[in-house]
């Protein structure tokens, strides 16, 4: 680069004047142009004492533990963890206890819904990415290689209104939502999902790509807040996060647009029940307010521990085993009652079912009354004397 010094400088003339960041500055001493003694002050930030005149911009996201991080990564991990609106995102809690489920609700907080000729199932597996212990797996005993427009299979995680009220959806102040999750499939290509309200009456789809078969991949999606629609903010279905396993065209629409109706994916979504060897795993779901998500390396670190997830799950479904309902002395035909306190206050009055009943001098085990905090069971003595029964109880207030 050439330097065009002024042709007739006076002693003390500076060039360039004013100084230019990144260039040295010179002074005319009457004979030659002398470099100003500290031109580096205009170019570099000293280790101490200097103030940057503009924002520091980093070339990329952090890749090592002590790398500098852009502002959006500055959210503390603990704060991210407790902002998670999902529950059982790590798929660890499985109170119903089955290894595999037909269509419908399966492990705590999750369900699979299906329409069409396929027969899909959900398995609770220990196949999981590093840092996680479980996932749910979609597979099928009867495949559907050519779905019609009304065929669909999808996982859905339903979140109570109280948990998502902070998003302000349905108002002008609606905040964005960011979800992160791990997926693994025998197929590669375009996959998709959706965020929905109660009903569902409104949906916003999103897409992601599975690049490598049978390999765990971490995906992050941000959804714009919905300023319209009705979003329940109490104990009803506040928000559903759906993951399409297969979708006919009537369930698909372009990504990123809030649309009326029950839509679960985008056009071109891979059919993962096309053969009986297809598998689709998901785990590590986080549903966070705002635009910040943990990195793949951080995602397992922000998941709440099992004990806290179990307590949350028990708001929706509780299983109590080997309960003893006992009275020391009851006349024949006499009814006696036991009140079972729920380990967590439930979302609503639960449906109550008793299983594995082993009666002794008793019969007629029935629900007497229930509310969100307790369940009262009644038993009838068949003869005078001590009377009891062992049984298991399931209280179901799932969304």
């Amino acid at each position: 680069m050439g330097i065009n010094f002024p042709p007739s400088p006076a002693v003390g003339t500076l060039y360039p004047d004013p100084a230019t960041i990144g260039l040295p500055q010179y002074k005319w001493d009457g004979t030659v142009w002398q470099a100003v003694s500290t031109p580096e002050a205009l170019t570099y930030v000293k280790r101490t004492g200097d103030t940057m005149s503009g924002a520091l911009k980093l070339a990329g996201d952090p890749v090592a533990a002590l790398d500098a991080v852009p502002k959006q990564y500055a959210a503390p991990l603990d704060a991210l963890a407790y902002s998670g609106m999902q529950f059982n995102g790590s798929m660890e809690v499985n109170q119903p206890g089955a290894a595999s489920y037909a269509v419908g609700r399966n492990i705590d907080g999750w369900a699979m819904w299906s329409a069409g000729a396929q027969v899909p199932l959900t398995s609770h597996t220990t196949v999981a990415p590093p840092g996680f212990s479980n996932s749910v797996q979609a597979w099928c005993s009867t495949a559907n290689a050519a779905p019609t427009v009304n065929d669909v299979v999808f996982f859905i995680h339903l979140i109570e209104g109280y948990r998502i009220a902070r998003l302000g959806w349905g108002t002008a102040a609606a905040k964005p939502l960011t979800i992160g999750f791990w997926v693994n499939s025998t197929r590669t290509g375009t996959f998709s999902g959706a965020v929905q309200n109660n009903g569902p009456a409104r949906s916003c789809t999103f897409s992601y790509t599975i690049n490598t078969a049978n390999t765990w991949e971490y995906k992050v999606v941000t959804i714009a807040g919905d300023t319209a629609g009705t979003w329940l903010k109490t104990n009803g279905v506040g928000l559903g996060v759906a993951f399409a396993v297969m979708g006919g065209s009537n369930y698909l629409t372009a990504a990123g647009v809030w649309t009326a109706g029950n839509l679960v994916g985008v056009p071109g979504t891979t059919n993962c029940v096309a053969t009986t060897s297809d598998l689709f795993h998901i785990t590590g779901l986080v549903v966070l307010p705002g635009i910040v998500a943990p990195t793949a390396a951080q995602s397992s670190l922000i998941m709440r521990p099992y004990d806290q997830e179990l307590a949350t799950c028990q708001r929706y479904y509780t299983k109590l085993n080997q309960l003893l309902h006992y009275a020391p002395y009851v006349p024949a035909g006499g009814a006696f009652y036991v009140d079972w306190i729920h380990p967590s206050t439930m979302r609503a009055m639960p449906t109550v079912a008793a299983y594995n009943t082993i009666p002794t001098n008793s019969s007629g085990l029935n629900l007497n009354a229930t509310n969100a905090s307790h369940t009262n069971m009644v038993l009838v003595a068949t003869a005078l004397g001590s009377s009891w029964a062992y049984y298991d109880l399931v209280m179901d207030a799932r969304l």
Binding site: A332, G333, R347, M349, T351, A353, V394, A397
Partner: protein, 90 residues
């Protein structure tokens, strides 16, 4: 047999699994039951349980037999188990 059966309270029994469904509009099973009613479903009526047969305990049987032995000596008719339990407040 219908899909649901009434009880002597607001609770409804789902016959498939015997689960008891409380009357709470936030309970999804109750919502499904109400929808079933709107579609013309008719639940089975409430059936009161059979009264429990009065079966005396061994101790009661000894007292009961002794009581009727006394009544026989007194020329009185024997008591039933129910009357005996009631009279003795057992």
């Amino acid at each position: 047999m219908a899909e649901y059966q009434l009880t002597d309270t607001e609770i409804v029994i789902r016959t498939e699994d015997g689960a008891s469904i409380p009357n709470d509009p936030a309970n999804r099973d109750r919502v499904e039951y109400e929808e079933w009613l709107e579609e013309g479903g008719v639940p089975d009526p409430y059936v009161p349980p059979e009264p429990a047969e009065q079966v005396p305990t061994p101790e009661q049987q000894v007292l009961f037999d002794h009581e009727n032995r006394l009544r026989s000596q007194e020329g009185l008719p024997p008591m039933t188990v129910e009357d005996f339990v009631e009279s003795k407040k057992l």
